[in-house]
Symmetry: C2
Subunit: 684 residues, 2 copies
């Protein structure tokens, strides 16, 4: 598909601006060394090359082929190409799954045609792909007209026009893209297949991806892990979060929508940077090209504008990039050099730099050496392209850069593209907007930390005997207790003696509730007693409940009294496992009730999660302070919560478990545990 | 200050790259028509102009002066300039309030020196200002070297270097800036004074502002209202939100920090767009230059990339810019034209446009005419600057634009600066990143809606008699009830008959609590009875409480029983008024407890707020669904909540009220009111 020695073009056009003409024109003029075989039944030559009337007439079986003819013709072409021995078809043709069920049926026939003979398909409804170093351009993007520049950023995009746009936008910023693949409807090959290919390919060091939907979670996860192990950062846009966007994605490439928050969790798990805008995607790729991924990333800022320093500090906090203070002795030295300067970090050279540019060099050098920051931003606005200021500034900063080649050294300046290229040739990263610079630099640290993580070892998920039917609440709690999620202890008692024995076993105080299949609203007949604090109270309570039941519900069948441990000072949480349509079993945790539904304060992660991962999920909740002693509460038993979540996530790996939810899970004060108060299990 | 006929430069330098030399060089070469009077005791001429040894030697009293000499000399210069009759001093000198208390004292002397004779001061620690159409450049920014371009965006910036950066960045994008003012330490004149000047000045149609702190809320508010009434949009950055940023702002221009959320509320009140990044600020200014501010703004998207359409739809939802669907009959017509197109909105021309560019014109025209969108984005990626694609594309789109000059018609394309200028000359807005385009377009609608709002009429805040001391809870509730915030009814009762009378008055059920100054924890002796549902229960309850008190707290003084209406199904809210150090009395509302403290879900607005404004605040809460029937609750009495909030905000206008808080305010189900359950008032 990406490195063929011959290519056929089914539907080759003599007009090099038309869909069937562009790739032929590009292949001819960009140095593709293999055979180019146009197929067109109506012409003897196409764009000067001899044309063949059909696949059968081709002088050889092509390694790859473009299919650029409509409807049934495309399927017939796929059939004959595959039969002839072609191994890869790039299908431009539209009108398949993206237009409805009829198109989807055609699409299945297209794939089947290839599959019978082992031919793989990109598309249909795609724009094509290229491997530029080979001069291989089976693509009808107009952006290819202006050529390509060498570089290391591979792009895999479901959307054709948008992938082509990314390529052109990258080129305009001086970011070289050796390989672009657009996958369209993904009838056969998916985005994941090309991410995985890029993870192994020498041409690519940084992977940019654009998706409207992930079709196969397992393949996607495998591809991301391959990239991570190869230490190649993945930067990804996934669109279709909004209602209008989701509808548009459906009609565009027939994408299916998974839960966007689950996707976020998966991307985080594999250290993928999810970009929210095209610019952010390119910004991160731009900085990632340096291949400096510091673990424990910190930011130092040297500036001629105190205002920019403030702005950058705000942006760094928002991006989670720490800006530690300069060492105090270094601050004193800088202050001695420029009395009105602020040498803390951000380090403001002040207008004094107008009169003496050596101040800038001294300040920047001290930040690199004394501050030890792994990322540096030098904000010098129009001085980056000023007749009077640029030459001395460049001399000062270049010295610092040369002494510290291991740092991400980024200039935030206003400069023409030509001047920017000069600074870049010196080795600087250059970005005009400092907020965007901060976002991109902060991503490098997260890549570094992700690359350091050990691969997840295999999990043994033993087999549990599960009932044939969905269990009721009590049965569900029993099953989960066996699986490692303990419940609030409770017992049905038929006598006052049994009630006392249960209370002694659970510990006081306890709650007692009348137990009857005929009394739905126990409170209305006074059928619930709280705070029973000793044996006498339990014994009296049993009698009181029996008396009330006899008096107020004389016809009800009374089975006894349910005695339960009374849980106090608990934080009510919800934990669960669900089967995501894309990524399979996923664990979730949130504060109970309104926090999940109204505030959407919930964390997800693929099952199984270990206790450390569970802790990280819990800490990521906005409401975490409620577990951590906010508002004068006692601190909650967060480790017990994490244990319960990890246990539930392992339970979620059982094949027959469709979902399981514990809500509420009562998280007691530190050291006292976390107990399920209600549970629901759905089984296949 | 901004239109003088003569200017003196105290500390003029012969070197045109130094701080004291740059403004002189600019004034000489940029066509300033007034007298330029360098003051330098050591030279006979400076940059070729005759120099004067001191202020006393000047041949005339200058209208304005630059002070560019250090320390005490600056104060002495201000003194003699003011005495001589100069009316405006632009003070570059640093080392005042930004370096600490000693500098602050010097700064006070500087201001006093001017004030004695009516001279106003910009700075100190500022970079200067310019009024470019007059060739008036009393500024030492290096960015001025490359000249300026005509335009309508005025910039007022507290930070000098950042203001200068904004000017240069604007110029690089083709945005003309006729007036730039940097205000530095704002010892005398503030940012607000220049915003107000720009609101009245013909040179300026769009105002960009940058601040690290607002010093005088009343002046600031007055300036924003002046701009609003003049229909001039204000786009503002306020930095220093983060801890590091706030510290940096303090050392940079000696700014004070107000509550950032209160500032947000004030900016929203006056329709100011708060930009989070420099690019966003310039984006909004760029689009605002068109001076099309549609009320009821909608977005139509025509694209060659379905992927971009999805991305733009996501961005529009995030920005709150509606994308209504195309009329169905128009969709049918477009579908007939291009069978595989998606004509809903976003409208995807699909790759068919490669083969027939007329499709694009037909689709865009239908969106303008049939869709009636006030904002249009045409996403055409590299086709915006493609040898084969640009000419036909431009011809098609220009026709649509010319027929609909009242629309914000924005092209999202990849194009060189030169090609971009050509599109702009045709009348198009051009922005590469579609997400940024959406944010900027959405701002135009909010400007339009703000311009339509009537000025706030004067409020009569009558005088209330308030106690000399801070009132206790009961007194506070009584005062607030008079002010229009009713409380949960309750009464101290000395007999069972009194208790029954109270209950009959309040309505059942009621709560009864033992009333004794000696019993702090009533629950511990069983001193609280809930759910007393009829006369008999109240009478029995009174007896029960008395008996329990006698038995369990025999030594306590018993004053009777407190009977209170039992509130059920209420949503607990918190409302309050606080005195913001910058903006004075501010009303706030939030859901009670953790929602405010942990989730920071709270809305602010300057006092007083009327009921409509109060409703808008309530609806802005993320937790609003809890009042609106989420999770099967009954809908709460939101109008009663709004009335209470409005009443409390009027109360907050009383001069002696430092703060007042009602927490919880029990908001009952629809039609049943909202009642204070606890209240605290702080008085001056």
């Amino acid at each position: 598909m990406l490195r063929p020695r011959s290519i056929a073009i089914i539907g080759a056009s003599d007009d090099p601006t038309r869909i069937g003409g562009r790739p032929l024109s590009y292949l001819k003029t960009r140095g593709f060394a293999g055979a180019i075989l146009p197929v067109n039944p109506n012409r003897a030559t196409v764009q000067g090359l001899p044309a063949f009337r059909d696949v059968a007439s081709l002088p050889q079986a092509p390694d790859a082929a473009i299919i650029a003819i409509p409807g049934e013709g495309a399927i017939a072409a796929a059939e004959s190409l595959a039969a002839r021995g072609c191994k890869a078809a790039i299908t431009f043709t539209a009108g398949f799954a993206e237009v409805g069920p009829e198109g989807a049926a055609m699409q299945e026939r297209l794939v089947a045609a290839g599959r019978r003979h082992g031919m793989r398909i990109v598309g249909p409804n795609c724009l094509g792909l290229f491997n530029a170093p080979l001069g291989y351009f089976p693509i009808f993007s107009a952006s290819v007209e202006q050529g390509w520049i060498p570089g290391v950023v591979g792009i895999a995009s479901q959307s054709g026009a948008y992938g082509s746009h990314l390529f052109a936008a990258a080129r305009a910023r001086g970011i070289g893209v050796p390989v672009l693949v657009t996958t369209g409807n993904e009838a056969d090959l998916h985005l994941a297949d090309f991410i995985e290919w890029m993870a192994a390919a020498d041409e690519v060091k940084v992977i940019a991806a654009y998706a409207e939907g992930i079709r196969d979670g397992a393949r996607f996860v495998q591809a991301l892990e391959a990239a991570r192990l190869a230490r190649k950062p993945v930067v990804m846009m996934k669109v279709g979060r909004s209602a209008v966007g989701e509808a548009a994605a459906q009609s565009h490439t027939a994408s299916i929508a998974g839960d966007d928050r689950v996707l976020d969790a998966v991307l985080e798990e594999f250290g993928v940077h999810r970009a929210r805008t095209t610019e952010e995607l390119l910004d991160v790729c731009y900085v990632a090209q340096k291949r400096i991924y510091p673990v424990g990333n910190t930011l130092g800022v040297v500036t001629i504008s105190g205002g920019a320093g403030v702005l950058i500090a705000d942006a760094a906090e928002a991006a989670g990039l720490p800006m530690p203070e300069m060492p105090l002795d270094a601050q004193a030295r800088l202050k001695a050099l420029v009395p009105f300067s602020s040498p803390r970090n951000p380090v403001d050279c002040t207008a004094q730099a107008f009169n003496d540019m050596k101040v800038v060099g001294a300040f920047a050098e001290s930040m690199a050496t004394d501050g030890g920051y792994t990322s540096l931003i030098a904000f010098f606005t129009a001085w980056g392209d000023s007749p009077s200021m640029t030459p001395p500034l460049r001399a000062e900063l270049k010295q610092v850069l040369d002494r510290h080649p291991d740092r991400l050294f980024l200039l935030s300046i206003l400069a023409s593209p030509e001047r920017t290229r000069e600074w870049e040739a010196d080795g600087f990263l250059v970005m005009e907007d400092p907020t965007r610079a901060v976002v991109a630099l902060s991503a490098m640290g997260r890549f570094g930390e992700s690359f350091e993580r050990l691969p997840r070892s295999g999990w043994e998920v033993g087999h549990l005997d599960l009932p044939a039917q969905a269990p009721d609440e009590a049965e569900a709690k029993r099953i989960l207790a066996e699986a490692g999620v303990p419940s609030v202890p409770e017992r049905a008692c038929r006598s006052a003696d049994e009630a006392v024995a249960a209370a002694l076993e659970f510990g006081f105080p306890v709650v007692a509730k009348i137990l009857s299949p005929d009394i739905l609203h126990k409170n209305e007949i006074g059928g619930v007693l709280l705070n029973l604090a000793d044996e006498g109270a339990v014994r009296d309570g049993f009698a009181t409940l029996m008396a009330r039941a006899a008096e107020r519900a004389p016809d009800a069948r009374i089975e006894g009294v349910l005695v339960a441990k009374q849980v106090r000072d608990a934080v009510e949480m919800a934990i669960g496992v669900v089967r995501d349509p894309v990524f399979g079993p996923v664990a979730m945790v949130g504060l109970g009730g309104v926090f999940i539904e109204v505030f959407r304060d919930v964390a997800f992660r693929r099952c199984p999660v270990d206790e450390d991962e569970a802790l990280a999920m819990i800490r990521a909740l906005r409401g975490f302070p409620l577990l951590d002693g906010a508002r004068g509460r006692p601190k909650a038993d967060v480790p017990a919560l994490a244990r319960a979540l990890a246990a539930l996530s392992r339970f979620g790996m059982q094949k027959r478990v469709l979902s399981a939810e514990v809500n509420p899970l009562m998280v007691l004060p530190e050291g006292q545990g976390a107990l399920a108060a209600d549970a629901v299990i759905e089984l296949d």
